[in-house]
């Protein structure tokens, strides 16, 4: 199943910030984690992750640090900042509201099976 482009875009920021709460990571590892978490159904265009990370950094939600990879190359690691955690908490509430609303509307009247057919 492929996830709709707009949905991917909307969830990208909370997803990245959430992944970074688990610990500092570099770009490729973040993408692998996204793929893992979604069982491979969220396929990002890899290159697009970096402008997003840079935007989050400019907004002060993440900080970055150049380190060295196992192979001895320069590698940029990202970490979530306190401001990033605040934003993540905020987004979490928003997503909870959205998910709640969706669940309710899908469960009323027609029943779940019909709803899924209607939305697919």
């Amino acid at each position: 199943m492929r996830i709709d482009k707009d949905l991917v875009a909307a969830s990208a920021t909370p997803l990245v910030l959430g992944i970074l709460t688990e610990g500092d990571l570099y770009g490729y590892a973040i993408l692998k984690r996204v793929s893992e978490l979604s069982d491979g159904s969220m396929q990002w265009t890899d290159g697009m992750l970096y402008p997003l990370l840079h935007r989050l950094e400019r907004l002060g939600y993440v900080s970055s640090l150049w380190g060295t990879s196992d192979a001895g190359r320069r590698r940029k690691h990202y970490a979530i900042t306190p401001a990033g955690r605040d934003v993540l908490a905020d987004r979490q509430q928003q997503w909870t509201v959205v998910a709640d609303a969706l669940r309710q509307v899908w469960q009323t009247a027609q029943g779940p099976g019909a709803a899924i057919e209607g939305w697919a």
Binding site: Y50, P51, R73
Partner: protein, 449 residues
Amino acid sequence: MASHVELEAQIDRWRGYVQRNRAVSPADVDELEDHLRGQIADRQATGLDDEEAFLVAIKRLGNLDAVSREFAREHSERLWKQLVLVPEQTDNAHATPWRELAVVLALAVGAGVAVKAGLAWTDDSGALMRNLGLLVFPFLAVYFAWKRRISRYVAAALIVPFAGLGVVLNLYPFAPAGATGMLSALHAPVILWLLTGLAYAGGRWRSDKRRMDFVRFTGELGVYYTLLALGGAVLIALTLATLQGIGVDFQPVLKDWVLPIAVPGALLVAAWLVEAKQQVVENMAPVLTRVFTPLTLAMLLVLLAVLATAGGFASIDRNLLILMDAILILVLCLLLYSISARDPLAPPGLFDALQLALIIAALALDAAMLTAMLARIAEFGSSPNKIAALGLNLLLLMHLLRAAWLAVGFLRGRLPFAAVERWQTRYLPVYGAWATVVVVVFPPVFGFI
């Protein structure tokens, strides 16, 4: 690892392609490359060969144009190329940027102090004029010698002429306020500048490319120095006015200390700026030459028209001749600068035709001046000044004639632009040789008058 040569080459080509985009900085390319290599390594682990792994990784990275566009949206400031004086520290270049800044500032202060000392120790304004270049240019040469890590052989090739020039300029018994002393003072900077060019090229002065770089550098230095001078003038004017308002007389300090130190010091700072921004900022040269080539051509045409209608070139007086020499030199500088700024691979265009017109107008002016000079020599006899001027104009004539010939060949598609460039860079030492003749040979020949 020998088996991965092709993969490394592919990654290199990819880097080159991505780097061409202005919105993606070298650090971002590093980051993307790390990603690409991560992806490739994972593909290889699943059994793909180098080629397949690379292709998959590239595909996963997405359409590079779209990614670059996204980078541009996030980093729009990068589309304005910026001057980074002290580049971000990278792994392989520890702290050298700051060291360079320190060296430049020390040399700038050195040049300032040298000029200040020169002003303090001599009352003879003629001697000071002759030595001014010697007080400043060696510091610039030292900067380049340090930066390019020149060999001992090149260092000797620099020190010996500098020292020789110092001896000639100071031990020749010039007559006070004499013509040969004045000529030496005027021609010494040409020699000094070419010696600085030798340091700039790091001793590789035989290379046409390095010579062209030096021409480019000279033009950019002029632009930067002018900008610094304008900014400095504004600062000084504001300080002066404010202190005057309070009732403090700043003028003696300004005249005795600020100007003697700041004016030569700014030259070194300007040189360093040109060096620092070389890779970063688009050069001003293409813009400036496109603005000034047509304007200068218009000026030359007006001058020629006025001279032609003023009745006879022979009656042109001395000061006017000097003035027109200055104009010709300026035209030549503009020509050199615009040639240095041109993309050598671009086909001939309107601008090249305009340049040819400029050369022809300059030739006409030079021919007019030569007639006037010969007429004056025939009428009043020769003098050091007249011979020096005549020599310079003959050099200019040769330079312009061949430049015109080559420009025609280029416009007609018979010659590559490199031929035009090569003539310009190869002719430059001729001016140095002539200046040396004027400084070294003229005074004894004319009895130091």
